[in-house]
Subunit: 319 residues, 2 copies
């Protein structure tokens, strides 16, 4: 079966975005190695521009547009890291960006997107209103839609994380663990490694409070959130799988491992304390997975971990 993108597409994305995204460092920690009993390689996408891997996919999408389409701008609906990523990617190309965002989104998120020069278009906090509002923006401006994950250009961009990580680990990784929300990052990584190094196990880490992918994978069919969910501290992983990412999670990803919010909080704190890196809850999910009981029977010593983002609202702390 054919998936959204292949290795050639991910390589093309990498050459397209090479000049604009950071090649983020890979760090190691003796303490975390001792705690996990593995050798961990931390891919620091929290040090990526806008503080998250999302800038890769957004940049690839923006740079993929021909100049005529590009001139009409881009649009998305998101209040998370993808919104900021698209805003900055558009700014770099010198084209307009419109970000549809619920009226009740935190002020700090709206200001961040506006800070990158994008126009924020308010909508009601429902999926219907988001889609209607985005459609209205498109009708008005002719802007191109750039979804936050269920999009081949975006998935290819996120997959570039795997190209770099594997290279930075001398081509030798037994396992890669990435956070799993909508599945853009995980799918991109899985599709890159599937051709590049098929013996590497690709594992998704999912919060218990938003476990649609784990449930879908074990049921063998695409399921939405169960009642009362999503509810998790990992606010970047609230979305459900899409039509492009689900087949990858089903057929290419080896396993999905679920962790609860306490484990995520502990992993986040460990990262801050031991690696001196500010990592957001969603970005700490892979470490929580590696330290979980469920990970014990995963074979392999060399484990790549994607620290996907570092955008934490620091107002929650007392300074």
């Amino acid at each position: 079966m054919s998936f959204a993108v292949d290795l050639a597409g991910i390589r093309l994305a990498h050459s397209r975005i090479a000049g604009v995204v950071h090649r983020t460092p890979v760090m190691t920690s003796e303490t975390l190695d001792a705690m996990s009993g593995r050798r961990l390689f931390l891919k620091c996408e929290n040090l990526q521009k806008v503080g998250a891997f999302k800038y890769r996919g957004a940049s690839n999408a923006v740079l993929s547009l021909d100049s005529e389409s590009a001139s009409r701008g881009v649009v998305t609906h998101s209040s998370g890291n993808h919104a900021q990523a698209l805003a900055l990617a558009a700014k770099r190309r010198g084209i307009p960006a419109h970000v549809v965002m619920p009226r009740n989104a935190p002020d700090v998120k709206r200001r961040a997107v506006e800070g990158y020069g994008a126009r924020v278009v308010p909508c009601d906090p429902t999926l219907q209103s988001r889609e209607d509002t985005a459609a209205a923006v498109i009708a008005e401006t002719g802007a191109a839609m750039v979804p936050s994950y269920d999009d081949a250009r975006v998935i290819a961009g996120q997959g570039t994380v795997a190209l770099e990580l594997l290279e930075q680990c001398d081509g030798d990784l037994d396992v890669v663990v990435a956070p799993l929300g909508g599945g853009g990052l995980l799918s991109g990584i899985a599709l890159a490694l599937r051709e590049l190094r098929p013996q590497t196990l690709v594992i998704g880490g999912e919060p218990e409070g938003a476990d649609d992918a784990a449930r879908s994978k074990s049921a063998g069919m695409l399921l939405g959130h169960s009642p009362g969910k999503p509810s998790t501290i990992a606010d970047g992983l609230l979305t459900t799988l899409g039509t492009l990412t689900w087949p990858v999670v089903r057929d290419v990803v080896a396993r999905v491992i679920v962790v609860d919010d306490d484990a995520i909080r502990r992993a986040m704190r460990l990262l801050w304390e031991r690696t001196k890196l500010v990592v957001e809850p969603s970005g700490a999910v892979p470490l929580a997975v590696v330290l979980s009981d469920a990970f014990r029977d995963v074979p392999g010593e060399r484990v790549g971990i994607v620290l996907s983002g570092g955008n934490v609202d620091l107002d929650r702390f007392r300074w």
Copy 2:
């Protein structure tokens, strides 16, 4: 006049510790460049082993001992990063370490030192008791004293920061700003650059609540703390200059710039938010200096900043 160490001594220290200390990365931030109107190069000693530059000086001191002295162990009095640094340096060499620490030191600090395998020797919280207790340890064990800053081996070790930083900035820096407590780090940097690149201005950043060096430098004589001080959030910078560091601050360091706790807190938060690096208050002092009014008349575009440590008590935050 001759100072505690020269460039040759610092180079020797660097070759001695090269295999044990991290060559920490230098990071940049477009946001901080825009805010400061300079090009900033952040030397990430918060990513150093034990989370602080102190591991350089402690390692150099420990590795400088001949094997007979080394076998009798090392001793210091400190409850800060130097204590952990010496403990780990001793452990790496396989020799005993004794750390004299006031009984009222936070539990977390005692446990950290013990975690590195050192023996903690409690004393009363006075300088007299610290010194008496250390002397008793020396009498009993024959251990070698490794002071936290007023020591040529320690100063030479800290000076290796400058060798790496300058190299990582293509040999081209107009200014280097480092935190100033006892002056070990600042002196090492100043003595390295004095020979290596004399046109680079070396500036010390000092908290207003522990401003003995600024006052000493402007008076032209070594002064202690004024009444009611030290009192600052920058708990790594409470000490006063020593007999080896004062002449360097007086004659080689270009300027000492003082910043208050609010400025330190703002700089620390900016670093966490914008660079995703956990930096302790003392380590944020140089950025506070660069963003201060007093820095406006410092000439030069390319400014190196030493993020000296990242050991923050994360219990103060709500997780």
